[in-house]
């Protein structure tokens, strides 16, 4: 079966190699609000809303780019981990892939709904930040867990 929307298998390991350190470091620097001044830059923005000020399109803002770096690395690497082919990507694996994706979307929005109802104001910003990454994370966990369950079932057969 030809599948054109997945990356080749070798990208999965590359993805893991980048994903684990960047997710960990990104999380830690985010929680402890570590923003080294060496990474303060004036960056281009397409939409700007000043604190108690104007709202306008396109311009430059002062920003610490550490969050951006780790955010981008985490998203791109988790996409590689999530959507690289298995060694033998057949129709059954594709079915598990689809099921895991639907499951991850449900779980992600379930958490967002709980956040809507019980977390407010600035605290809700944390829910939104983590929600950006958790959909792929939930998919990765669920998919790999299902695959490893199948592998165990096979070993049991032997």
């Amino acid at each position: 079966m030809k599948i054109s929307y997945l990356f080749p298998n070798k990208f999965k390991n590359i993805g893991w190699f980048i994903f684990i350190p960047s997710a960990l470091i990104g999380c830690i620097t985010l929680v402890f609000e570590y923003e080294p001044s060496a990474l303060d830059f004036n960056v281009f923005a397409i939409f700007i809303e000043e604190l108690l000020g104007d709202t306008y399109f396109s311009g430059f803002v002062k920003n610490n780019i550490l969050n951006e770096i780790f955010g981008i690395l985490t998203i791109l690497s988790s996409i590689l981990v999530a959507f690289s082919k298995e060694k033998l990507e057949d129709e059954y694996i594709s079915k598990i892939r689809l099921e895991s994706l639907v499951w991850a979307v449900y779980l992600n929005y379930a958490i967002l709904l709980v956040g809507f109802l019980f977390i407010f104001d600035l605290a809700f910003l944390w829910v939104m930040i983590f929600n950006m990454f958790t959909i792929l994370l939930f998919f990765i966990i669920r998919f790999n867990w299902q695959i490893s369950k199948l592998q165990k079932a096979i070993r049991y057969e032997e």
């Binding site: 059954y92 694996i93 096979i154 057969e157």
Partner: protein, 68 residues
């Protein structure tokens, strides 16, 4: 849907791994089909039939549940 993959496999003296290689799918898929956890696509069903040199209907049979 019931299937007799395990029986056909035994007749030909193939392991799950052998059959997986012949059908160009993973061992997990063969295992899941034998356990009735996965219903294969038409393409895979036809491949299995060709490997076992029988008709598809000799391997796969409908059950009452499949009409629900």
């Amino acid at each position: 849907m019931k299937n007799s993959i395990k029986v056909e496999r035994a007749k030909k003296d193939l392991t799950q791994a052998d059959l997986a290689k012949l059908a160009k799918v993973s061992r997990q898929t063969i295992n899941a089909m034998e356990l009735g956890k996965y219903v294969p696509s038409t393409v895979l069903a036809l491949r299995l039939a060709q490997i076992f040199k029988v008709e598809v209907s000799a391997i796969f049979t409908l059950e009452e549940l499949d009409w629900e």
